[in-house]
């Protein structure tokens, strides 16, 4: 029985953390995401050189061949650093592509350091009332893809997009498009968390080569649960960092001649937040393990990880803002950046009610 990272995983984690602490401090995140155009190719290059962007591609295809536990570690660190790059999306895309047997796209990720995002119905539904899947018509060269998706993270800031579509057979399919190719349109929609900008995607007769798509089958079915777990992991990382920042502040900030953290009311708030953050980690590890094992209860474990991080995460963020006082409500203070990521992750890919019903269906 081991519900903790092993030594190798620990090294992996500290490697990525070190990289991100150096290359992705919050000033940089702010500069690119809030003050800039959202692009940061240098950082992506550094991540690619470290092997992180291809880490979800199998070793046989020259990728990092990391399993899902390791993917969760990457997500934890992406939350901790508030990474403004489509790293977990690229990881998820690689996993889905592999399951679908699409080798050409995997090669782009492995050899070209391509970044990727995902446009799937499950997420579109969070942004539009009754979205319909784009349709993929087969052509001599492959497919012709038309339709819409909503809420796509990063959108054109990524180089490729893995698109869920309905094939002529009625089956679901996964197609790999370049985000700047002819017929692909992006419309930015508001994003409270500007570190993950959101886009509506329109596809007008987009041509997709044969080797860049496939019937989805299980490849797609697994994706939402995997994404839920990575969002949960990301929230845990963000909460852990936000809590650290808040604890530091409570130690330093003085009112009435002593640190505010000496007040028992503040202690209660932070102790409960810490208890929540610790539990989140167990939930993430558990779900990552279940998915890695392909266990039959992996869907429930994913829903549990989402539940444990969703409203508890928002509560941790609210406490973080509160303890920072009026300062916590300002743009300049960093807690709010984390709060927005945490709140966004709470809302997407299954509300509490949805996740509870997912759990209920497996146990009642």
């Amino acid at each position: 029985m081991e519900l903790e990272l092993n030594e190798e995983q620990g090294l992996l984690q500290s490697g990525l953390r070190q990289l991100l602490e150096g290359a992705c401090e919050l000033r940089r995140v702010r500069r690119h995401s809030y003050d800039g155009d959202g692009r940061d190719p240098e950082l992506w290059k550094e991540l690619a050189e470290g092997g992180w962007t291809a880490s979800g591609v199998p070793e046989t295809l020259d990728g990092g061949g990391l399993g899902f536990e390791e993917a969760a570690i990457v997500a934890l660190e992406s939350g901790r650093s508030l990474l403004h790059q489509p790293l977990i999306e690229t990881l998820l895309a690689a996993r889905a592509l592999q399951r679908a047997g699409c080798k050409a796209p995997l090669s782009e990720i492995a050899h070209d350091g391509a970044s990727a995002t995902l446009a799937v119905l499950e997420l579109s539904r969070d942004f539009a009332p009754d979205p319909e899947l784009p349709r993929a018509r087969s052509t001599q060269a492959g497919w012709e893809l038309s339709g819409e998706h909503f809420g796509v993270p990063f959108g054109p800031l990524a180089q490729r997009c893995l698109v869920e579509a309905e094939l002529e057979s009625g089956e679901a399919g996964l197609l790999w498009v370049s985000t700047d190719q002819t017929g692909v349109g992006w419309r930015e929609v508001g994003a409270m968390d500007r570190t993950v900008r959101r886009y509506a995607l329109t596809l007008e007769a987009v041509e997709v080569p044969g080797e860049c798509g496939a019937g989805a089958g299980d490849a797609l079915g697994e994706l939402p649960d995997e994404w839920r777990v990575l969002l949960a992991a990301q929230t845990q990382g963000a909460c852990a960092r936000l809590l650290e920042m808040t604890v530091d502040y409570a130690k330093k900030r003085e009112q009435f001649g002593r640190p505010i953290g000496a007040n028992q009311a503040v202690k209660v708030r932070l102790a409960l937040a810490a208890a929540a953050v610790e539990r989140m980690l167990a939930a993430v590890y558990h779900a990552a393990l279940k998915i890695e094992q392909g266990a039959s209860d992996r869907g429930r474990a994913a829903a549990m990880a989402k539940l444990e991080t969703a409203s508890p995460g928002a509560e941790v963020a609210t406490q973080g803002i509160h303890v920072h006082g009026a300062l916590g409500y300002t743009w300049e203070q960093d807690v709010q950046l984390f709060a927005k990521r945490i709140k966004t992750n709470e809302i997407l890919l299954g509300s509490d009610a949805d996740c509870l019903e997912r759990v209920a269906r497996t146990i009642l």
């Binding site: 997420l123 539904r125 969070d126 942004f127 539009a128 009332p129 009754d130 909503f150 809420g151 419309r187 930015e188 929609v189 508001g190 994003a191 409270m192 968390d193 500007r194 959101r198 003085e254 009112q255 009435f256 001649g257 505010i260 007040n263 009311a265 503040v266 928002a314 609210t318 803002i321 509160h322 006082g325 009026a326 916590g328 409500y329 300002t330 743009w331 300049e332 709010q336 709060a339 709140k343 966004t344 709470e346 809302i347 997407l348 509300s351 009610a353």
Partner: protein, 396 residues
């Protein structure tokens, strides 16, 4: 018991409602003029308030002897509710009307009253409130801005935060330390500062929501006449504190009206939107959440009305205003959370940030409501007040 207004209260309401109908044109409404960086917004709001002032609709609470209507507390609540209902912008005169005016009446000199009261009442002069400092928030009495007498002038050095309208204000009500050797509560005075004086620099603080309403104000050797002290020297903290605590509690009364309006928006949204093929208002947990939030807002209102009854019977507001602030935060944060639950991904934008649900109103409310446990005395402080001053638990 009854929840009805008296004929005279109804008449008061109708009169103000009619005035608003006539004078509050669409271009003056909150959505249009909230953002002061929009050109003309400040002027529009000021013009509207001067009209209010001219027609006697500012300072309705002020005693008749000072030109007010001597409105009862209930009338004041009605007045505020009507302002909210009508969609009027928040009053730029509120610091003058609700803080400076009452202090002037209580401790101001004859000259000061004569000079300052009428312009406030006519909406002609705007006041800035300079209380909090970077290192004096909850612990207001720990403020470090100092005023030193140099001949016939006070020279002020220091920094204030969290006040609003500083750039536009005519006058500032500024707490400064005038006796550095006295115990911290006893060396503070209430200074009247012309906000256009040399040495004053104003900047904006950007909020979590992206909005910029609050100011940082730097006082760098600002000189004001010796007589510009409001109330007794070195007793500014007592004066400020007494007014702040209670008034701010009572101020939450009309907030319930604002929350009712926002709740209605949420209900309408749930009734007219679907997710995953199902109308939101038909999903059991959404129904329960909307009902829970409705009850919360109504209970905030009802609990406050009970205390209002006490005030109307002659008991002045006291520590129970801390309860009001507890309910306030609960109702507001509940609404903020519910808004994002209902809106889903489509609500996750900030105002002004491209296409977002109701122009970011939902996410904005969520973010804004995070500040409700902090403003006007943090929740921790309110709970301490309840525990120590109402329940009588011992201080640590």
């Amino acid at each position: 018991m009854n929840l009805d207004l008296s004929p005279s209260e109804i008449a008061f309401r109708e009169k103000f409602r009619a005035w608003l109908r006539e004078n509050l044109t669409d271009d003056l409404k909150w959505e249009r003029v909230a953002d002061l960086s929009h050109s003309g917004a400040w002027e529009a709001r000021r013009g509207f308030e001067r009209r209010m002032g001219a027609d006697g609709w500012l300072g309705v609470a002020w005693p008749r002897e000072y030109g007010g209507q001597g409105a009862t507390l209930l009338e004041q609540v009605i007045y505020q509710e009507e302002l909210v209902r009508s969609g009027a912008p928040a009053l730029t005169s509120s610091v003058g009307l609700e803080l400076v005016g009452p202090i002037l009446m209580e401790v101001g000199s004859e000259e000061q009253r004569h000079r300052f009261l009428t312009p406030i009442l006519l909406g002609e002069e705007v006041w800035y409130q300079g209380f909090s400092e970077p290192n004096a928030g909850s612990d207001l009495a720990g403020l470090q801005t100092r005023a030193v007498l140099d001949g016939d002038e006070w020279v002020i050095h220091g920094q204030k935060v969290w006040g609003g309208f500083a750039e536009h204000a005519d006058w500032g009500a500024v707490l400064a330390r005038t006796d550095p050797d006295a115990p911290k509560h006893r060396g503070i005075s209430f200074m009247i500062v012309p906000m256009k004086a040399p040495g004053i620099t104003v900047s904006y603080i950007k909020e979590m929501t992206g909005g910029e309403h609050l100011n940082e104000v730097f006082f760098d050797g600002v000189r004001i006449p010796r007589e510009n002290v409001l109330g007794p020297l070195n007793q500014g903290w007592r004066v400020a504190n007494r007014l702040l605590g209670y008034e701010r509690g009572v101020m939450t009364l009309p907030f319930a009206t604002r929350y009712e309006r926002f709740w209605e928006k949420l209900r309408d949204f749930a009734s007219s939107n679907r997710r995953r093929g199902e109308r939101l208002s038909e999903r059991p947990h959404i129904r329960a959440a909307l009902a829970r939030s409705y009850v919360d807002v109504q209970m905030m209102r009802l609990a406050n009305l009970r205390w209002l009854t006490h005030y109307l019977r002659g008991t002045p507001p006291a520590e129970e205003t801390s309860y009001m602030k507890v309910y306030w935060a609960q109702a507001h944060q509940g609404l903020g959370d519910l808004a994002l639950e209902l809106g889903g991904g489509a609500a996750l934008g900030l105002p002004g940030e491209l296409e977002t649900l109701a122009a970011g109103a939902f996410s904005n409310e969520w973010a804004f409501s995070r500040s409700t446990t902090i403003l006007g005395g943090t929740q921790d402080i309110q709970r301490n007040i309840i525990a120590e001053r109402i329940l009588g638990l011992p201080r640590a």
